[in-house]
Amino acid sequence: MQPSRTRTTVYYSLLWLVALLFFLPVFWILMASFKTPDDILAVPPRFLFQPTVDNIVSMLTRPNTIPYFINSLFLSILSVTLALAVSFLAAYTLSRYKFRATNFLMFLILSTRMVPAAALVVPIFQMYNAFQWRNQFGVLMLYTMFSIPFSLWILKGFIDGVSQRYDETGFVNGASRLHVMFRVVLPQVRPGLIAAFIFNLIFVWNEFLLNFILGGPGTQMIPYALAVGLTDSGGNVDWAFVASLSTGYVLLPTLMIFFFQKYLLVGMTFGTVRGEV
């Protein structure tokens, strides 16, 4: 039963339409970032306009934009990398040495991720105050901690899927435990690493509340800049700035889901669901 060409065309067009509908609000902001402030506030809204890069230039030349972008990149990449390293060690250990408390530990660690950030941030905030950790180090550690549960779950699932025979073949041939971990198992869980990396990166990249509360100098990221810098000197919302900054900021996650689409599902479900869409 071969569906006709027309039917297929209609079907695919419908799908594209759905995808475009979901993208439309983002597209509107994308357009706004190329409009002059007058065009943005025009009544009725302008669908055709003379594009300008002024907003983007002025957004980029605001004194804090570039440093905040760097902070975003630095904090998200480093914390997620650190979380992956820590989680990999733990995931390997929990997968290969059969501890009795494994399931309970996994549960505890996952449950921390289910708590509203505002709940945990109160005590952490106090602790950070006491230790003077409200700096890059502290925020980095915090994001690492928040990236650990998903990383651990994803990696544990993947490592469980790597047969122990691989380890054993290594051991019999004289490999050390560390060699087996990093040269034998690690390369085989690369999809898990990528999924965990992307998913947590997007989380840290987008995080606002902790950044706002706990951040000190050198830790402020773009969502923070968006939330506190959204007003221009006249006191009203500077939509040109909001639009151009949002557009610039959503670029990285968008590229990530384009290039690593097949890992999306794994990441969004902490590795409990495998497969691609």
């Binding site: 506030l41 004194p63 905030f125 106090q126 950070y128 105050n129 006491a130 003077q132 409200r134 706002f212 509360i213 000190g216 100098p217 939330a227 506190v228 810098g229 959204l230 007003t231 221009d232 000197s233 006249g234 006191g235 009203n236 919302v237």
Partner: protein, 510 residues
């Protein structure tokens, strides 16, 4: 502290005990920190013989290079001016004392700035050396000892202690607790409320004729005429210019839930009945705020929205600027400090700012008591000596005549007698005359400076916003709701001896 711990009947289970001990230790640590005497770090003996509170006196800063961290209010132009003008301060101290200083600006909108700053001070951090605080934060900052007492600075730098234009400045930006005479803040920029009016329209003969034809009275057109109008007398004017079919409206005021926007706009209506929002002497809110008179005024305040554009329940300072500069409203209630921003190039010469409309007070007198805006500087008590000196140097520079003049020319407002009464000030900007009028004794006032202000404010803003948006339509119930909860907050903190009636606490907004 140890007493507190040992006297507690903790559960026998060791786990709980451990937890309690842990938290008690934490509490103790925090409490110790909190109990540290105010200004202790700054009061450290001056090695060079001069207190850092004197600022730089000799060569002690020569050759040093440091960064001064300022916290300012985002989207609030007057607080951006110090940043803009900072280079001339840096040049001045470089020449005078030989040190290099740069500025780091951290900004956040009103409510968020407090949430951003207070925790750092609680942590005894000098993340922000000098802060543009809102006047209501004084108690919250002073009571835990987070900021330097201004009196201590004045004691060693009498030249900073300028003569204020009126007691309003001192009461609003400096003194805590109210009436104590203890000063904590240094006025940065005073502010009062006014009404911005489209001069071009009221001077338009066609409009004047049409108005007279419709109402039988002359359309006021001068400052003096407007300054004497009561809010009721304004209504026909708002109504006259309210032309929704042309997307043009009579007026606009702030009804937003954001920060204190609704409260500040509404409070003049409370004062107009001779009422108040609380009784500072007894700490009581119940019985003060939730009066029938206040409820009637609340209803009246909301009724003015009939002359306003849609969406008023979200109107903020910024909305006023937007609506006014885009020519969508005839008039707008706003802070005079943003006067410069209310007048876009297209509106140049077409705008007049007049004092807040008057009310007929119960004593029959026609007058106004507006809400005070504006902000003081406060100095972080945890600054190290060098930063402390720079802060003082900065204030000294800030209060110099030429600095103040430049500030005013850029749209800032003065507070000293000398500044406000300076020749030509009243005529210098379309809004300066109204400002001076409102800053006269008794014409404006601020509300709580209590440490609990954020909690108190959150309760009433939410309730007022519910009323503004029509979620609740009974004004008395709104005020009862606020009064009950605020009374509870003050009762919990020991500021009043009277617990709120239970029936008020059971009220909800939905």
């Amino acid at each position: 502290m140890s007493e507190t711990i040992s006297s507690q009947p903790f559960s026998r289970r060791s786990l709980l005990k451990g937890m309690a001990a842990l938290s008690a230790a934490a509490v103790a640590a925090n409490a110790l920190a909190a109990c540290a005497p105010a200004g202790a770090p700054a009061a450290a003996p001056a090695a060079e013989g001069a207190s850092p509170l004197q600022g730089t006196v000799g060569d002690e800063m020569r050759g040093k290079s440091l960064e001064l961290s300022l916290a300012v209010i985002a989207g609030w132009p007057p607080s951006q001016l110090p940043i803009e003008m900072f280079p001339s301060f840096a040049a001045a101290v470089k020449e005078k004392y030989g040190y290099d200083v740069t500025v780091r600006k951290t900004e956040a909108p009103f409510a968020a700035l407090f949430q951003r700053v207070a925790p750092t001070l609680a942590a005894k951090s000098q993340e922000f050396n000098l802060i543009v605080s809102d006047s209501q934060w004084l108690g919250a900052l002073a009571e835990p000892g987070w900021i330097i007492k201004a009196d201590d600075v004045y004691a060693v730098n009498p030249e900073l202690d300028l003569e204020p234009f009126s007691s309003l400045v001192v009461n609003t930006y400096q003194v805590y607790p109210d009436g104590s005479g203890q000063r904590w803040g240094f006025p940065q920029m005073p502010d009062t409320q006014g009404l911005f009016i489209r001069k071009d329209l009221v001077e338009d003969p066609a409009e004047q004729a049409a108005f007279e034809a419709k109402y039988g009275t002359k359309l006021p057109s001068t400052y003096d005429e407007f300054a004497e109008l009561t809010i009721q007398e304004y209504e026909p004017i708002f109504e006259f210019f309210n032309r929704p079919d042309q997307e043009f409206y009579g007026t606009a005021a702030q009804y937003s839930k954001e920060y204190d926007f609704f409260s500040c706009a509404y409070h003049p209506y409370v004062y107009a009945t001779g009422g108040d929002i609380w009784d500072p002497a007894t700490g009581n809110v119940v019985g003060m705020l939730n009066t029938d008179a206040n409820a009637a005024q609340l209803e009246y305040f909301r009724s003015l929205t009939q002359y306003m554009p849609p969406g008023y329940s979200d109107f903020t300072i910024g909305s006023m600027i937007d609506l006014f500069t885009q020519g969508k409203v005839f008039s707008a209630f706003n802070w005079l400090a943003v006067g410069l921003f209310m007048i876009s190039p297209e509106l140049e010469g077409k705008v007049m700012a007049v004092p807040h409309p008057k009310f007929i007070f119960p004593d029959g007198e026609k007058k106004v008591i507006g809400a005070m805006g504006g902000q003081p500087w406060v100095i972080n008590a945890f600054n190290d000596d060098d930063h402390m000196r720079v802060c003082i140097d900065f204030l000294k520079w800030w209060y110099q005549d030429d600095t103040q003049e430049e500030f005013v020319s850029k749209g800032g407002l003065p507070w000293s007698k000398k500044g406000v009464e300076a020749e030509g000030f009243e005529e210098s900007k379309p809004y300066t005359r109204a400002f001076k009028y409102m800053l006269e004794e008794g014409r404006s006032r601020d509300f709580w400076h209590l440490p609990e202000y954020a909690e108190l404010l959150a309760v009433q803003q939410e309730a007022y916003s519910a009323f503004a948006s029509g979620q609740v339509n009974d004004p008395k119930r709104v005020l009862d709701y606020i009064a009950g909860r605020q009374q509870q907050i003050l009762f919990d903190k020991g500021r009043t001896q009277t617990a709120p009636p239970a029936e008020l606490l059971d009220l909800t907004l939905s």
